[in-house]
Protein backbone atom coordinates (compact mmCIF):
# COMPACT_ATOMS: atom_id res chain seq x y z
CA UNK A 1 0.00 0.00 0.00
CA UNK A 2 1.26 3.45 -0.96
CA UNK A 3 1.89 5.27 2.33
CA UNK A 4 2.64 8.92 1.44
CA UNK A 5 1.72 10.30 4.86
CA UNK A 6 3.46 7.49 6.78
CA UNK A 7 0.31 6.92 8.78
CA UNK A 8 -0.26 3.25 7.88
CA UNK A 9 1.44 0.97 10.39
CA UNK A 10 0.74 -1.98 12.69
CA UNK A 11 -0.45 -2.42 16.27
CA UNK A 12 2.95 -3.92 17.17
CA UNK A 13 4.73 -0.79 15.94
CA UNK A 14 2.40 1.47 17.87
CA UNK A 15 2.40 -0.25 21.21
CA UNK A 16 5.52 1.72 22.19
CA UNK A 17 3.25 4.77 22.55
CA UNK A 18 1.37 3.01 25.37
CA UNK A 19 2.55 3.02 28.98
CA UNK A 20 1.44 2.32 32.54
CA UNK A 21 -0.72 5.07 34.01
CA UNK A 22 -1.71 6.55 30.69
CA UNK A 23 -5.05 8.10 29.71
CA UNK A 24 -6.78 6.13 26.98
CA UNK A 25 -10.00 6.94 25.16
CA UNK A 26 -11.84 4.31 23.15
CA UNK A 27 -14.66 4.33 20.64
CA UNK A 28 -17.54 1.90 20.80
CA UNK A 29 -20.93 1.30 22.39
CA UNK A 30 -21.45 -2.05 24.10
CA UNK A 31 -18.39 -3.32 22.26
CA UNK A 32 -19.88 -2.48 18.85
CA UNK A 33 -17.36 -0.26 17.09
CA UNK A 34 -14.50 -0.92 19.52
CA UNK A 35 -11.16 -1.79 17.86
CA UNK A 36 -10.40 -5.48 18.54
CA UNK A 37 -6.85 -5.60 17.20
CA UNK A 38 -5.60 -2.63 19.22
CA UNK A 39 -7.37 -3.91 22.34
CA UNK A 40 -5.69 -7.29 21.86
CA UNK A 41 -2.29 -5.57 21.53
CA UNK A 42 -2.93 -3.64 24.75
CA UNK A 43 -3.90 -6.86 26.53
CA UNK A 44 -0.68 -8.50 25.31
CA UNK A 45 1.42 -5.48 26.31
CA UNK A 46 0.54 -5.85 29.98
CA UNK A 47 0.19 -2.10 30.59
CA UNK A 48 -1.81 -1.20 33.69
CA UNK A 49 -3.09 1.59 35.97
CA UNK A 50 -4.95 3.04 33.03
CA UNK A 51 -7.34 5.96 33.08
CA UNK A 52 -10.06 5.15 30.57
CA UNK A 53 -12.67 7.35 28.94
CA UNK A 54 -15.47 5.80 26.94
CA UNK A 55 -19.19 5.16 26.68
CA UNK A 56 -19.35 1.93 28.70
CA UNK A 57 -17.29 -1.02 29.93
CA UNK A 58 -18.56 -3.47 27.31
CA UNK A 59 -19.08 -7.05 28.40
CA UNK A 60 -16.49 -9.03 30.40
CA UNK A 61 -15.12 -10.73 27.27
CA UNK A 62 -16.09 -8.07 24.67
CA UNK A 63 -14.36 -4.89 23.61
CA UNK A 64 -12.73 -2.71 26.25
CA UNK A 65 -14.44 -4.95 28.83
CA UNK A 66 -11.52 -7.37 28.47
CA UNK A 67 -9.06 -4.74 29.73
CA UNK A 68 -11.38 -3.69 32.54
CA UNK A 69 -11.98 -7.30 33.59
CA UNK A 70 -8.23 -7.87 33.97
CA UNK A 71 -8.04 -5.13 36.59
CA UNK A 72 -5.83 -2.93 34.41
CA UNK A 73 -7.93 0.19 34.96
CA UNK A 74 -7.46 2.55 37.89
CA UNK A 75 -10.08 5.08 36.86
CA UNK A 76 -12.80 5.35 34.26
CA UNK A 77 -15.14 8.09 33.08
CA UNK A 78 -18.16 6.39 31.55
CA UNK A 79 -21.95 6.32 31.44
CA UNK A 80 -22.72 2.65 31.99
CA UNK A 81 -21.09 -0.45 33.46
CA UNK A 82 -24.22 -2.62 33.76
CA UNK A 83 -23.29 -5.13 31.07
CA UNK A 84 -19.94 -5.89 32.71
CA UNK A 85 -20.49 -7.26 36.25
CA UNK A 86 -16.72 -7.44 36.81
CA UNK A 87 -16.55 -3.66 36.41
CA UNK A 88 -19.23 -3.30 39.10
CA UNK A 89 -17.32 -5.65 41.40
CA UNK A 90 -14.03 -3.75 40.91
CA UNK A 91 -15.85 -0.50 41.71
CA UNK A 92 -17.52 -1.95 44.81
CA UNK A 93 -14.19 -3.34 45.99
CA UNK A 94 -12.59 0.07 45.62
CA UNK A 95 -10.19 -1.20 42.95
CA UNK A 96 -11.48 1.03 40.18
CA UNK A 97 -12.77 4.60 40.46
CA UNK A 98 -15.80 5.28 38.31
CA UNK A 99 -16.97 8.74 37.30
CA UNK A 100 -20.49 8.34 35.93
CA UNK A 101 -21.61 10.88 33.34
CA UNK A 102 -24.92 11.01 31.44
CA UNK A 103 -24.34 9.34 28.09
CA UNK A 104 -25.01 12.27 25.77
CA UNK A 105 -23.10 14.70 27.98
CA UNK A 106 -20.16 12.30 28.06
CA UNK A 107 -20.22 12.26 24.26
CA UNK A 108 -20.32 16.08 24.23
CA UNK A 109 -17.41 16.29 26.67
CA UNK A 110 -15.33 14.05 24.42
CA UNK A 111 -16.33 16.09 21.39
CA UNK A 112 -15.48 19.32 23.25
CA UNK A 113 -12.02 17.92 23.89
CA UNK A 114 -11.70 17.16 20.20
CA UNK A 115 -12.90 20.61 19.22
CA UNK A 116 -10.60 22.52 21.58
CA UNK A 117 -13.51 23.78 23.66
CA UNK A 118 -12.69 23.94 27.38
CA UNK A 119 -16.12 22.91 28.70
CA UNK A 120 -19.83 22.93 28.04
CA UNK A 121 -22.66 23.91 30.32
CA UNK A 122 -25.36 21.31 30.96
CA UNK A 123 -28.76 21.03 32.62
CA UNK A 124 -28.79 17.23 32.68
CA UNK A 125 -28.85 15.56 36.10
CA UNK A 126 -28.58 18.85 38.05
CA UNK A 127 -30.64 17.31 40.88
CA UNK A 128 -28.55 14.14 40.99
CA UNK A 129 -25.60 14.08 43.33
CA UNK A 130 -23.71 11.42 41.40
CA UNK A 131 -23.79 13.66 38.34
CA UNK A 132 -22.95 16.85 40.18
CA UNK A 133 -20.23 15.36 42.43
CA UNK A 134 -17.13 17.53 42.26
CA UNK A 135 -18.51 19.70 39.48
CA UNK A 136 -18.66 23.49 39.39
CA UNK A 137 -21.80 25.36 38.46
CA UNK A 138 -22.27 28.51 36.42
CA UNK A 139 -25.31 30.75 36.60
CA UNK A 140 -26.65 32.51 33.51
CA UNK A 141 -29.47 34.87 34.30
CA UNK A 142 -31.30 33.03 37.06
CA UNK A 143 -30.56 29.58 35.72
CA UNK A 144 -27.81 27.51 37.24
CA UNK A 145 -25.95 25.03 35.02
CA UNK A 146 -23.34 22.36 35.55
CA UNK A 147 -19.90 22.96 34.07
CA UNK A 148 -18.97 19.75 32.25
CA UNK A 149 -15.26 19.89 31.36
CA UNK A 150 -13.88 18.70 28.05
CA UNK A 151 -12.18 15.31 27.95
CA UNK A 152 -9.05 14.46 26.01
CA UNK A 153 -6.63 11.55 26.18
CA UNK A 154 -3.02 10.78 25.40
CA UNK A 155 -4.24 8.22 22.91
CA UNK A 156 -7.61 7.56 21.33
CA UNK A 157 -8.25 4.17 19.79
CA UNK A 158 -11.09 3.95 17.33
CA UNK A 159 -12.64 1.63 14.77
CA UNK A 160 -13.76 2.51 11.26
CA UNK A 161 -14.89 0.76 8.10
CA UNK A 162 -12.47 2.35 5.64
CA UNK A 163 -9.53 4.72 5.72
CA UNK A 164 -7.65 6.21 2.82
CA UNK A 165 -3.92 6.68 3.25
CA UNK A 166 -4.43 10.15 4.75
CA UNK A 167 -6.69 8.68 7.45
CA UNK A 168 -9.98 10.02 6.15
CA UNK A 169 -12.55 7.71 7.69
CA UNK A 170 -16.00 6.34 7.03
CA UNK A 171 -17.89 4.19 9.51
CA UNK A 172 -20.26 1.25 9.24
CA UNK A 173 -23.84 1.66 10.48
CA UNK A 174 -24.23 1.84 14.26
CA UNK A 175 -20.53 1.07 14.73
CA UNK A 176 -20.05 4.80 14.21
CA UNK A 177 -21.38 5.78 17.67
CA UNK A 178 -18.61 7.51 19.68
CA UNK A 179 -15.79 6.83 17.21
CA UNK A 180 -15.85 10.16 15.32
CA UNK A 181 -15.80 11.96 18.68
CA UNK A 182 -12.92 9.98 20.16
CA UNK A 183 -11.10 10.41 16.84
CA UNK A 184 -10.86 14.13 17.50
CA UNK A 185 -10.12 14.04 21.22
CA UNK A 186 -6.91 12.03 21.23
CA UNK A 187 -3.55 13.78 21.40
CA UNK A 188 -2.62 10.78 19.27
CA UNK A 189 -5.42 9.02 17.41
CA UNK A 190 -5.08 5.47 16.14
CA UNK A 191 -7.73 4.21 13.73
CA UNK A 192 -8.17 0.48 13.27
CA UNK A 193 -9.94 -0.07 9.97
CA UNK A 194 -11.52 -2.91 8.05
CA UNK A 195 -10.08 -1.69 4.78
CA UNK A 196 -7.41 0.77 3.61
CA UNK A 197 -8.04 2.36 0.24
CA UNK A 198 -5.94 4.67 -1.98
CA UNK A 199 -6.10 8.45 -1.64
CA UNK A 200 -9.04 9.78 -3.59
CA UNK A 201 -11.15 6.60 -3.35
CA UNK A 202 -13.47 7.93 -0.66
CA UNK A 203 -16.10 10.41 -1.81
CA UNK A 204 -15.15 13.73 -0.16
CA UNK A 205 -18.78 14.49 0.79
CA UNK A 206 -19.10 11.14 2.57
CA UNK A 207 -16.00 11.28 4.76
CA UNK A 208 -17.09 11.48 8.39
CA UNK A 209 -13.72 11.97 10.09
CA UNK A 210 -11.20 14.06 8.15
CA UNK A 211 -7.73 12.53 8.17
CA UNK A 212 -6.45 15.71 9.82
CA UNK A 213 -7.43 14.14 13.15
CA UNK A 214 -5.91 10.72 12.51
CA UNK A 215 -2.25 10.00 13.28
CA UNK A 216 -2.03 6.27 12.59
CA UNK A 217 -3.99 3.70 10.64
CA UNK A 218 -3.77 -0.01 11.26
CA UNK A 219 -5.55 -2.82 9.43
CA UNK A 220 -8.01 -4.72 11.61
CA UNK A 221 -7.68 -8.44 12.15
CA UNK A 222 -11.40 -8.55 12.96
CA UNK A 223 -13.41 -9.19 16.07
CA UNK A 224 -11.91 -11.98 18.20
CA UNK A 225 -14.77 -12.23 20.70
CA UNK A 226 -18.20 -13.82 20.66
CA UNK A 227 -21.09 -11.33 20.81
CA UNK A 228 -23.59 -11.62 23.65
CA UNK A 229 -26.33 -12.51 21.15
CA UNK A 230 -24.33 -15.24 19.43
Amino acid sequence: MNNPFQKITTADELIRHFHDGMTLMYGGFGGVGSPPTIIEAILQSGIKDLTLIGNDTGFPHIGIGQIVSQGRVRRITTSHIGSNPIAGQLMTDGKMDVEFCPQGILAERIRAGGMGIPAILSDIGMDNEIVTAGKQTCTIGKQEYLVEPALTAEISIIYAKKADSYGNLIYDKSARNTNPLCAMAGDITIAEVEEIVPLGSLHPDEIITPGVFVDYIIPSEGVNWKWAWE
Binding site: V32, M91, Q103, G104, D127, K173, S174
Partner: protein, 219 residues
Amino acid sequence: MGLGVDIRNKIARRAAMEIRQGMVVNLGIGIPSLVPNHLPEGMLVMFHAENGITGMGPSPEAGAEDANLCNAGGFPVSLLPGGSYCDSTISFGMIRRGRVDMTILGSLQVSEKGDLANWIVPGKKVPGMGGAMELAQKAKKVIVVMNQTDKHGKSKIVESCTLPLTSSGCVDMIITDMAVFTLGKEGLELTEVFAPHTIEEVILNTGCTFNTNKELKVI
Protein backbone atom coordinates in the same frame (compact mmCIF):
# COMPACT_ATOMS: atom_id res chain seq x y z
CA MET B 1 -40.80 -8.37 35.69
CA GLY B 2 -42.59 -11.66 36.26
CA LEU B 3 -45.41 -10.67 33.91
CA GLY B 4 -46.79 -13.18 31.42
CA VAL B 5 -46.51 -12.59 27.70
CA ASP B 6 -50.19 -11.72 27.36
CA ILE B 7 -50.04 -9.05 30.02
CA ARG B 8 -46.79 -7.64 28.66
CA ASN B 9 -48.40 -7.42 25.25
CA LYS B 10 -51.52 -5.77 26.72
CA ILE B 11 -49.33 -3.05 28.23
CA ALA B 12 -47.35 -2.67 25.00
CA ARG B 13 -50.55 -2.46 22.94
CA ARG B 14 -51.89 0.34 25.13
CA ALA B 15 -48.58 2.21 24.88
CA ALA B 16 -48.66 1.83 21.09
CA MET B 17 -51.97 3.71 21.03
CA GLU B 18 -50.11 6.85 22.12
CA ILE B 19 -47.96 6.85 18.99
CA ARG B 20 -48.92 8.92 15.94
CA GLN B 21 -47.73 8.85 12.33
CA GLY B 22 -44.33 10.51 11.87
CA MET B 23 -43.33 10.51 15.54
CA VAL B 24 -39.77 9.93 16.73
CA VAL B 25 -39.91 7.39 19.54
CA ASN B 26 -37.24 5.93 21.82
CA LEU B 27 -37.96 2.57 23.39
CA GLY B 28 -36.34 1.14 26.51
CA ILE B 29 -35.61 -2.54 26.95
CA GLY B 30 -38.22 -5.11 28.10
CA ILE B 31 -41.91 -4.37 27.52
CA PRO B 32 -41.19 -1.22 25.44
CA SER B 33 -39.47 -3.37 22.83
CA LEU B 34 -42.83 -5.08 22.18
CA VAL B 35 -44.54 -1.80 21.27
CA PRO B 36 -43.75 -1.79 17.51
CA ASN B 37 -45.65 -5.09 17.10
CA HIS B 38 -48.84 -3.29 18.05
CA LEU B 39 -48.75 -0.36 15.65
CA PRO B 40 -51.30 -0.08 12.85
CA GLU B 41 -49.98 -1.49 9.58
CA GLY B 42 -48.33 1.15 7.44
CA MET B 43 -47.91 3.72 10.20
CA LEU B 44 -44.56 5.46 9.75
CA VAL B 45 -42.76 5.86 13.05
CA MET B 46 -39.07 6.65 13.44
CA PHE B 47 -37.63 4.58 16.25
CA HIS B 48 -34.57 6.19 17.80
CA ALA B 49 -31.69 4.43 19.54
CA GLU B 50 -29.20 6.28 21.73
CA ASN B 51 -26.22 4.75 19.93
CA GLY B 52 -27.03 6.66 16.77
CA ILE B 53 -29.87 5.03 14.84
CA THR B 54 -33.00 6.77 13.62
CA GLY B 55 -35.49 4.57 11.81
CA MET B 56 -34.63 1.35 13.58
CA GLY B 57 -36.49 -1.77 12.42
CA PRO B 58 -37.07 -5.23 13.90
CA SER B 59 -34.42 -7.80 14.82
CA PRO B 60 -33.18 -9.77 11.83
CA GLU B 61 -33.67 -13.53 11.66
CA ALA B 62 -31.05 -15.73 13.26
CA GLY B 63 -28.03 -15.93 11.01
CA ALA B 64 -28.76 -12.58 9.34
CA GLU B 65 -27.45 -10.44 12.19
CA ASP B 66 -24.92 -7.68 11.48
CA ALA B 67 -22.57 -7.02 14.40
CA ASN B 68 -22.28 -3.40 13.25
CA LEU B 69 -26.03 -2.83 13.39
CA CYS B 70 -27.14 -3.17 16.99
CA ASN B 71 -29.41 -1.21 19.30
CA ALA B 72 -28.28 0.58 22.46
CA GLY B 73 -28.52 -2.70 24.35
CA GLY B 74 -26.04 -4.34 21.98
CA PHE B 75 -28.53 -6.59 20.18
CA PRO B 76 -28.94 -6.84 16.40
CA VAL B 77 -31.64 -4.76 14.74
CA SER B 78 -32.37 -3.54 11.22
CA LEU B 79 -32.89 -0.19 9.52
CA LEU B 80 -36.07 0.92 7.76
CA PRO B 81 -36.21 3.13 4.63
CA GLY B 82 -35.57 6.73 5.66
CA GLY B 83 -33.40 5.60 8.55
CA SER B 84 -29.92 6.97 9.14
CA TYR B 85 -26.87 6.66 11.38
CA CYS B 86 -25.24 9.41 13.39
CA ASP B 87 -22.68 9.77 16.16
CA SER B 88 -23.65 9.81 19.84
CA THR B 89 -23.67 13.61 20.15
CA ILE B 90 -26.24 14.01 17.37
CA SER B 91 -28.29 11.15 18.79
CA PHE B 92 -28.54 12.89 22.15
CA GLY B 93 -28.88 16.29 20.52
CA MET B 94 -32.15 15.01 19.08
CA ILE B 95 -33.29 14.21 22.61
CA ARG B 96 -32.15 17.44 24.28
CA ARG B 97 -33.45 19.63 21.44
CA GLY B 98 -36.93 18.18 21.93
CA ARG B 99 -36.99 16.32 18.62
CA VAL B 100 -37.73 12.96 20.27
CA ASP B 101 -41.49 12.95 20.66
CA MET B 102 -41.79 10.11 23.11
CA THR B 103 -39.83 7.69 25.22
CA ILE B 104 -41.42 4.52 26.55
CA LEU B 105 -39.42 2.97 29.36
CA GLY B 106 -39.60 0.69 32.36
CA SER B 107 -39.13 1.86 35.94
CA LEU B 108 -38.50 0.65 39.46
CA GLN B 109 -40.68 3.37 41.02
CA VAL B 110 -42.68 6.41 39.94
CA SER B 111 -43.88 9.02 42.42
CA GLU B 112 -47.20 10.86 42.42
CA LYS B 113 -45.26 13.93 41.29
CA GLY B 114 -43.94 12.09 38.26
CA ASP B 115 -40.47 11.47 39.65
CA LEU B 116 -38.75 8.58 37.90
CA ALA B 117 -36.42 6.11 39.65
CA ASN B 118 -35.12 3.52 37.22
CA TRP B 119 -31.36 3.58 37.19
CA ILE B 120 -29.87 2.40 40.44
CA VAL B 121 -30.51 0.17 43.47
CA PRO B 122 -28.02 1.32 46.11
CA GLY B 123 -25.84 -1.50 47.39
CA LYS B 124 -27.19 -3.89 44.78
CA LYS B 125 -26.99 -2.62 41.27
CA VAL B 126 -25.10 0.46 40.10
CA PRO B 127 -25.16 0.14 36.33
CA GLY B 128 -24.78 3.84 35.57
CA MET B 129 -27.36 6.13 34.06
CA GLY B 130 -26.54 5.55 30.39
CA GLY B 131 -28.92 7.74 28.43
CA ALA B 132 -31.79 7.47 30.91
CA MET B 133 -31.43 10.94 32.40
CA GLU B 134 -31.43 12.75 29.08
CA LEU B 135 -34.42 10.74 27.87
CA ALA B 136 -36.40 11.24 31.08
CA GLN B 137 -35.61 14.94 31.25
CA LYS B 138 -35.89 15.93 27.60
CA ALA B 139 -38.13 13.59 25.60
CA LYS B 140 -41.36 15.44 24.88
CA LYS B 141 -43.51 12.72 26.41
CA VAL B 142 -42.33 10.14 28.95
CA ILE B 143 -44.43 6.98 29.26
CA VAL B 144 -43.56 4.45 31.94
CA VAL B 145 -44.65 0.86 31.40
CA MET B 146 -44.27 -1.43 34.41
CA ASN B 147 -45.93 -3.86 36.73
CA GLN B 148 -48.24 -2.16 39.23
CA THR B 149 -46.42 -3.88 42.11
CA ASP B 150 -42.98 -5.31 42.76
CA LYS B 151 -42.26 -8.95 43.49
CA HIS B 152 -43.15 -8.43 47.15
CA GLY B 153 -46.55 -7.05 46.13
CA LYS B 154 -45.64 -3.47 47.04
CA SER B 155 -46.83 -0.70 44.76
CA LYS B 156 -44.27 0.76 42.38
CA ILE B 157 -46.36 3.95 42.24
CA VAL B 158 -45.48 5.77 45.44
CA GLU B 159 -45.87 9.06 47.28
CA SER B 160 -42.18 9.64 47.18
CA CYS B 161 -39.50 7.47 45.57
CA THR B 162 -37.25 5.66 48.04
CA LEU B 163 -34.77 4.84 45.28
CA PRO B 164 -32.45 7.51 43.82
CA LEU B 165 -34.13 9.54 41.09
CA THR B 166 -33.30 9.42 37.44
CA SER B 167 -35.17 12.67 36.97
CA SER B 168 -37.82 14.52 38.91
CA GLY B 169 -41.30 15.37 37.67
CA CYS B 170 -40.68 13.99 34.20
CA VAL B 171 -43.28 11.22 33.80
CA ASP B 172 -46.38 12.01 31.73
CA MET B 173 -48.14 8.65 31.74
CA ILE B 174 -47.93 5.31 33.55
CA ILE B 175 -49.23 2.11 32.01
CA THR B 176 -49.27 -0.95 34.29
CA ASP B 177 -50.80 -4.39 34.13
CA MET B 178 -53.81 -2.96 36.00
CA ALA B 179 -54.37 0.57 34.85
CA VAL B 180 -53.38 3.74 33.03
CA PHE B 181 -52.50 6.96 34.90
CA THR B 182 -51.69 10.37 33.55
CA LEU B 183 -49.66 13.05 35.27
CA GLY B 184 -50.67 16.60 34.57
CA LYS B 185 -51.19 19.86 36.40
CA GLU B 186 -53.78 18.20 38.64
CA GLY B 187 -51.31 15.51 39.63
CA LEU B 188 -51.73 11.76 39.28
CA GLU B 189 -54.99 10.75 37.64
CA LEU B 190 -56.42 7.30 36.92
CA THR B 191 -57.86 7.26 33.40
CA GLU B 192 -58.29 3.60 32.52
CA VAL B 193 -58.60 0.28 34.32
CA PHE B 194 -57.82 -2.99 32.59
CA ALA B 195 -60.60 -5.57 33.23
CA PRO B 196 -60.81 -7.90 35.08
CA HIS B 197 -59.07 -5.49 37.48
CA THR B 198 -61.29 -3.01 39.33
CA ILE B 199 -60.88 0.52 40.64
CA GLU B 200 -60.83 -0.88 44.18
CA GLU B 201 -57.98 -3.19 43.28
CA VAL B 202 -56.04 -0.32 41.72
CA ILE B 203 -56.55 1.82 44.84
CA LEU B 204 -55.36 -1.07 46.99
CA ASN B 205 -52.24 -1.54 44.89
CA THR B 206 -51.24 2.11 44.52
CA GLY B 207 -48.97 3.61 47.14
CA CYS B 208 -50.45 7.09 47.02
CA THR B 209 -53.75 8.83 46.48
CA PHE B 210 -54.84 9.85 43.00
CA ASN B 211 -57.69 11.53 41.20
CA THR B 212 -60.02 9.49 39.07
CA ASN B 213 -60.90 10.83 35.66
CA LYS B 214 -64.59 11.59 35.20
CA GLU B 215 -64.64 9.60 32.03
CA LEU B 216 -62.73 6.67 33.45
CA LYS B 217 -62.83 3.71 31.13
CA VAL B 218 -62.71 0.08 32.12
CA ILE B 219 -61.32 -1.72 29.09
